[in-house]
Symmetry: C2
Subunit: 218 residues, 2 copies
Amino acid sequence: MKPETEFMEGPTQRQRDVLDAVLRLLVEEGDKITMASVARRASCSKETLYKWFGDRDGLLTAAVKWQASKVRVSPVDPRNPDLQSLTESLEGYARDWLKVISSDTSIALNRVAIGHAGTGKDNLGAIVLENGRFAMAKRLKPVLEAGRNAGLLCFEDTETAFRTFFGLVGRDVQIRLLLGDWPGLTEAAIAEDAARATRQFLALYGVGKSHSVKHGRK
Amino acid sequence: MKPETEFMEGPTQRQRDVLDAVLRLLVEEGDKITMASVARRASCSKETLYKWFGDRDGLLTAAVKWQASKVRVSPVDPRNPDLQSLTESLEGYARDWLKVISSDTSIALNRVAIGHAGTGKDNLGAIVLENGRFAMAKRLKPVLEAGRNAGLLCFEDTETAFRTFFGLVGRDVQIRLLLGDWPGLTEAAIAEDAARATRQFLALYGVGKSHSVKHGRK
DNA sequence: CAAGAACCGTAACGTACGGTACGCGCACGA
DNA sequence: TCGTGCGCGTACCGTACGTTACGGTTCTTG
């Protein structure tokens, strides 16, 4: 079930190559990839796969973690932002997020994680969530709170504010992509969506000159 | 691949019972349900399953369509709403939607549809999308436009306005549920979320007394 | 009631795939 | 130079499951 050493220092170069092959196959064939197809594509033997990753689930888990470790982005945290830099930060995060969720790899990974979420056999769903939605929250919350400290934003609960931003950015995009629909997210469309979401978020939570919108609980 | 008659008048009572059994099994076991387990649960023979539904995919497709046909809801369309009734309509739709996407059946169905979306073998994804996200749009758009005609809302593109509402209502709920997370949607939480989403939507698109927020394109 | 269809339960078949075993080549250290 | 070990390729095994076939039972219809 488990390899002797759960490579505590990260996978070796060769292992990383194998995991990249898994990711590519996942994009092409989805969850119906077979151990044999992985071995063929990665030019390694099945025995090696089992020695390194334990079993099929271990291989999938390792691939998901490997992908997660690749997408770490720069955690910029503007200390004392003005409205301009806050807006740019939010737009940047929104663009990054839309780019991620519309990428082939993310779609494929989310699909297999969702497929496995029903079985309870592994925790792929938790891993994807941790490195997707929750990682984004961790990155963004300091920005939101900095904006509040600077008197630019007004909210009580950071989590609620973040989730609102998340909804304004993502809308129906992710579910449509996962279900095979194609919302057509070009670079330009992403930029426009990010700008719109940021504008709407600031309209709701911004302490602007012309308006202040209530949004406390009932 | 296809049964002789694609039951043009809808499934018979017995067939509906079988499909209900499929739905129940889908909730319990996800996509790993077997033809044998369905036959056992539904007390029918495998031969009958193949005669009625062609093959495994046909059975799954029929089950998804059957579920879709069950959730048709009342298409209320307030003709000349005031702010009060518009708010209530929006909140009602939001509550319905949250209730649907957090139901066991919806989660299970979305999971199998997403799992199949990678393969291109069938169009489960399209069916789910058509009866989920797109059906909601079709129901809600007349309400939004009635609100605009009554001078309560202001937007250019109905689709864009709808997607904003969709995002404000759903936020991260659906993806978290699909990935096995449990946001804890009680009846009360749903009501509160629906109210908050409606409030935020009206803040963005409402022609209220105290403010008018710009949201046109750049 | 008789004849035939529909359907149930189960056995059987073929295949795909996860997992294992083994032989060979190649690199590296003594 | 000779082990020694890692990893590639491949053959093999067991099982699960989709699909088909068949005998027996119940339901419909004339």
